[in-house]
Symmetry: C2
Subunit: 382 residues, 2 copies
């Protein structure tokens, strides 16, 4: 461990205060010395995923965000509605780091051969606390990137690619043959579309606007249902019938959509049924909610028999369940198709300080489809 | 097959007509001659279970029920709201028999030794079409009752007992250690309470009235939460924490209760948590909806992390899944504890014709806890 690295660096923190406010700030933290099987990564690019935003903002109303601090060390404060404070109890008063994944260069390595082998390499990393200048992390949480990959190309190696692969894997493991995805035009949705085309899997893409439908059509998607169309329910039923989809992944969560999907599945299945069953079809119809773009209650009109399920789906428990060997296969596929199937596109690149700019926050907090933010840092010094 | 039995008998029928009405009637149907492995059962008692009512009335508004026909051959007609007719498409124009289960005497038997062995015996039967004077049925759908059992005692041998046992079996198979049941004071709920006491399983009984709580308390229940109490949510959370229940069976279906149960589970789990996880606990919290006492939409406020599920649960697919050998074990337990653990209580006994009496219908259609109807027939001739 003779390499040189700064003894400290900036790290983004999010803090819920007991009086009902959220504070985002940059703090100077010591760079942790690497253990034998660890490396120090100089972070260069880290995406803001929807899953990061939940931790960053908690239950705060970001329309109340106010700036203070200095340009280099900005501080943002926002109110948390009183009724939502109980949900924040577990993180009260804890200054938490954020950022699920990133890419950067290994600037120091522990004594083990595996750690030493990464020295100077560009790696993608998963493990939280990535909105920071430096991150000390275990070797097995690093994915070495191909020689010609940039930090921006490697920054989203884990969450979206493994989530998209997790969907098709879940489909196979739970005995379904095709999928519905409720945010077809999102970065993740486009990735899933490429996987399904490549693997020959039927995919029903739900989008919310005609231009999103056009985008997916250009990318070769076959089944696209626009929820803003008056024929949406009929279109969705037909697409489900044509693909045989009995599984859906839903990033929206709130409102009636999950129940509508189950109902369209039941109608599609019953079109092929030979006799009446008062309990509905015995074919399992499943919706997994993996996000919460709409935080309002999920409203389910149970008109689809008794063989159905709605539940949460989360990447990390899924990866735990399938085990290390299977995860390694998925990772290897991501690395080998990084610039094609698993390419991410960013609409905006911002600095760590800009991530705490009130105007920038109001833009990325919307989590709009097509608007994807990448925090870049340390790159001037490379 | 030298035994004598009537060549025909009355059978209750339910018919949805295309013009938007429901017709209930008694029709004379030929008694089917038994095959080698079949018997003819003279039905003596058949319960009206909530699961029967769905088939009997379909989507009809029973407050519009009108009587016609004769006292011996009554006919009841009721309107079906137009918006609900699409859900009736699969049964349109089909005159359907009803009645899931019953008990009666075997009056004729096929040639096989197993069939012949049942001749003259009182049996419980499962298999639909039980609201009838005679039912020809396979031997393996009959459960011979103990010598001293009456038809009334044996009539509810299957649906409620196997459903209650199915709940504790599901609990064990899916790795939960205790249960919540949303209709604690129902016939099924009281049975489940007896099973859980006997088997040492933690059970949280939800009831809707103080007198139901008192009834369960008399029967030895430990955890009773009255949803009409202002402290219901706090009581439920405490009971869940004390039992460690992470699974619930819900017969209500509509409204907010299922979501509230999941939230109470998450709060109970997080009381023991050591660190904040923005995704909530990774402990699976599951609600199975097995009935629809409230047909309004299920409204779920997702405030319980990402590791949760809500889904339909139905007895017949469950029995198929566990397989014949396991089902046989459950049936044997029911037969041996018929007068204790699995005793059913009926508030009313009615004739087959009275089941089509408009006033009687308006009473049993309410499916009120504590009001349980038994159709008795053929007994005068025994």
């Amino acid at each position: 461990m003779t390499e040189k690295y700064p003894t400290s660096g900036l790290q983004l923190r999010t803090l819920v205060k007991p009086e009902g406010s959220l504070e985002l700030s940059l703090v100077e933290v010591p760079t942790q010395a690497p253990g034998p099987d660890e490396v120090v990564v100089q972070i260069q690019a880290a995406p803001i995923n929807p899953s990061d935003i939940g931790l960053l903002f908690g239950a705060a109303d970001m329309s109340t965000a106010k700036a203070s601090g200095t340009p280099e060390r900005p501080v943002v404060t926002a109110n948390i509605p009183e009724r939502l404070m109980p949900a924040m109890a577990a993180r009260l008063g804890q200054s938490l780091p954020a950022g699920n994944e990133a890419a950067g260069v290994v600037v120091a390595a522990g004594s083990s051969p595996a750690a030493q082998a990464l020295l100077g390499k560009m790696v993608a990393v998963l493990g939280g606390e990535m909105y920071a200048q430096y991150r000390t992390i275990a070797v097995n949480q690093c994915l070495p990137l191909p020689q010609d990959a940039t930090a921006a190309e490697g920054a989203s190696c884990f969450v979206n690619p493994l989530t998209a692969l997790g969907m098709t894997e879940t489909m196979r493991r739970e005995g379904h043959k095709a999928l519905v995805h409720t945010v077809g035009a999102s970065n993740l949705g486009q990735m899933l579309n490429r996987i399904c085309i490549q693997d020959g899997i039927g995919l029903v893409n739900i989008v919310r606007k005609p231009e999103q439908a056009a985008l997916l059509r250009e990318q070769g998607a076959t089944h696209i249902c626009d929820s803003s169309s008056p024929t949406f329910i009929a279109d969705l039923t037909t697409a489900i019938e044509q693909t045989g989809a009995t599984l859906a992944f839903d990033a929206i969560g709130g409102g009636k959509l999950a129940g509508q999907i189950l109902n369209c599945m039941e109608v599609a299945i019953s079109r092929g049924a030979k006799e009446y069953n008062r309990y509905g079809s015995y074919v399992l119809k499943q919706v997994y909610v993996y996000g919460g773009l709409d935080l309002s209650p999920t409203e389910i009109t149970r008109s689809f028999g008794m063989t159905w399920g709605i539940g949460g789906w989360l990447l990390f428990p899924f990866l735990q369940k399938i085990g290390e060997a299977e995860v390694a296969k998925l990772r290897a596929r991501v690395a080998s198709e990084l610039k094609t199937t698993f390419a991410s596109h960013y609409s905006h690149q911002i600095s760590l300080a800009q991530a705490l700019d009130v105007d920038v926050i109001s833009a990325y907090a919307q989590r709009a489809t097509g608007a994807k933010y990448l925090i870049t840092l340390n790159q001037a010094t490379q």
